[in-house]
């Protein structure tokens, strides 16, 4: 007896565990007959999950939280029993902005505080000369990309709402917009940063892992009501995704995983570009400079698959910091409850693999994150846009 499932995804490398689970047969081995549906916008993924056209989805972690809180849209409680990836985003800047930042930098070029301070000097100089404000693109209002860009630049004294323009741009349009000068920089997931570098129109300034040591990125999302009615199916999905994540993390399997992901109806870009991402070994400048980091994208290792409610609390804190959500103990509880380590453990046997992983966010600026005192934590940040 197999269970038919429709699962939505956006063509990004961090959908890897989901795609490999299906195309490598791990889902079928769990009795799941999955149809993967490639989507063009997060709005579509969210809506189709909400109204039941999808049983599950590859979803931005903050969208799962926003949906559960009813922010910006209908309130549909979402559960995330599996974390598809930690980190994986990067900030790419135009050659002109890269040169301007490097001319102003005082410190290591991979030190986000040094680049953020340099950016603030670039912004000040532009304002003095009467130049247009810089435009930064990200993928969605409720996205890690939005919060990561804001966190980084605000640490250097750049107000993301006043000093620059921060705009939403669909990932497939980012590279063109950078090339045409419509945007000066963007924060996006793989493969788009690498594509900009390969085309010679951008430099990867930061891996997001420079800014946050561990940042929940995409989750496997299901409606809470559906998951309560189908606990066995949820457990089977978690096991299939977890097996796929373990497969992808083995270096000897990366070429095969990259080939699976490169299929036109999946991510649809060169296997070679995808493998660089999986390996955490990226070309960061058009001149061929390479940068390797074992923290660039974590799919299964270091307990990446196990949802961590502290991560959900951090994302909620960003929504509060930037005026998307009001602060309340109740909302914090709802946000944390979206991430379901209990479902993960139930599927994989308690205590789950990775249960001992550190809870830290590991941000480069500000005090250590305290999930139990959002207000106290946010008080440490000078630039914010709290709701009155």
């Amino acid at each position: 007896m197999t269970t038919p499932l429709r699962i939505g995804f956006i063509p990004l490398v961090d959908a890897a565990a989901l795609i490999v689970a299906v195309d490598k047969g791990f889902a079928a081995a769990e009795g799941l007959d999955v149809t993967l549906v490639r989507e063009v916008s997060w709005s579509n993924v969210r809506d189709k999950l909400n109204i039941g056209l999808f049983d599950a989805a590859h979803l931005l972690a903050p969208v799962a939280i926003a949906s559960s809180l009813g922010l910006g849209h209908v309130k549909v409680p979402i559960s995330a029993p599996f974390n598809l990836g930690l980190n994986g985003n990067a900030i790419t800047v135009s050659p002109a902005l890269h040169a301007a930042i490097m001319a102003q930098i005082d410190g290591d070029r991979f030190d986000p505080m040094a680049t953020a301070l340099a950016l603030s000097r670039v912004v000040a100089a532009r304002r003095q000369s009467g130049a247009e404000p810089l435009t930064f693109a990200m993928t969605f209002p409720f996205s890690t990309h939005n919060y990561q860009l804001r966190f980084w630049m605000a640490a250097g004294g750049v107000d993301p709402d006043e000093d620059v323009r921060l705009v939403v741009l669909p990932p497939p349009y980012m590279v063109d917009s950078l090339a045409s000068g419509h945007v000066d920089a963007f924060c996006v997931g793989a493969p788009w940063n690498s594509i900009a570098v390969d085309l010679g129109v951008g430099h990867i300034l930061h891996f997001v892992s420079d800014i946050l040591a561990r940042a929940a990125e995409k989750v496997l999302a299901v409606r809470q009501s559906w998951s309560e009615k189908n606990p066995q199916v949820v457990a089977a999905m978690v096991r299939a995704a977890s097996r796929a994540a373990e497969f992808i993390e083995q270096p000897q399997n990366r070429a095969e995983a990259a080939r699976i992901l490169s299929a036109p109806e999946r991510i649809g870009v060169d296997a070679d570009v995808i493998q660089r991402t999986l390996d955490g070994r990226l070309k960061i400048s058009p001149d061929g400079t390479l940068r390797a980091s074992d923290r660039y994208l974590l799919i299964g290792r270091e307990g990446a698959g196990r949802p961590d409610p502290v991560q959900a609390a951090w994302l909620y804190a960003q929504m509060v910091r930037w005026g998307q959500a009001s602060i309340s103990a109740e909302a914090l509880q709802i946000a944390k409850a979206v991430f379901r380590p209990d479902l993960y453990d139930a599927a994989l046997g308690s205590p789950g693999k990775g249960a001992a992983a550190p809870d830290t966010i590991g941000a480069f600026a500000g005090p250590a994150f305290d999930a139990n005192d959002i207000a106290g934590h946010l008080a440490a940040f000078a630039i914010q846009r709290r709701k009155s």
Binding site: N44, G72, V74, P170, P171
Partner: protein, 195 residues
């Protein structure tokens, strides 16, 4: 903004579908309709037009750009998503099925958006039907060409008349439980290989 005719923006990269929708809206008395097909600087253009209703097709990645409008604090007017109306599940389902999404500006009454959305859904469905028929007609035309060429090959190789060649194709198709077009295509492929 006149009470009678809200300003409607259609965001759609398909000019034909947009034209079909625009025509329908005009016929229904909605005169203030603007079509945007260029996605560059989409938000700036929408702010300049200052519409009451925005209609966008679900194949358009720029839907995510529109979501930003709920966040921009400097915007004078704040559109809200149609889907926020939790009471109307059927119309949400119908519009997603049809492949369209509507955003309405805060304050526009629900009774006024309903006929616009309904019209939009029916026109999107009509377009999809048209597209299907067009695809079918195209493939029928292709089949016809392939069959004609296969008949020609059979006539030449086996010394058959056109009618005899067709009968041979049809009887083979029936025996093998395939379409005549498929049998004809395999004859073309075989003759290419044997050239």
């Amino acid at each position: 903004m006149g009470e009678s005719s809200p300003k409607i923006v259609i965001v759609d990269e398909s000019p034909i579908r947009a034209a079909i929708l625009e025509e329908g809206l005009r016929e229904a008395g909605f005169t203030g309709v603007v079509h945007i097909s260029e996605m560059q600087s989409l938000l700036a253009r929408i702010y300049a037009l200052d519409p009451d209703v925005i209609l966008i097709d679900l194949e358009n990645p720029s839907r995510d750009v529109l979501e930003q409008m709920f966040q921009v604090s400097r915007a004078v007017r704040r559109p809200i998503a149609m889907f926020v109306d939790q009471s109307d599940a059927a119309s949400i389902q119908a519009s997603v099925d049809a492949g369209v999404s509507a955003y309405i500006v805060d304050g526009l009454k629900k009774e006024r958006i309903k006929p616009i959305l309904d019209l939009c859904i029916s026109r999107f469905n009509a377009f999809a039907k048209l597209q299907n028929e067009l695809d079918r007609a195209k493939s029928a035309l292709e089949d016809r060409k392939v069959i004609d060429r296969a008949k020609g090959i059979l006539m030449k190789l086996k010394g058959l008349t056109e009618d005899e060649a067709y009968v041979l194709l049809r009887s083979t198709a029936m025996r093998e439980k395939k379409k005549i077009g498929e049998i004809a295509q395999s004859i073309l492929t075989a003759s290419e290989l044997l050239k």
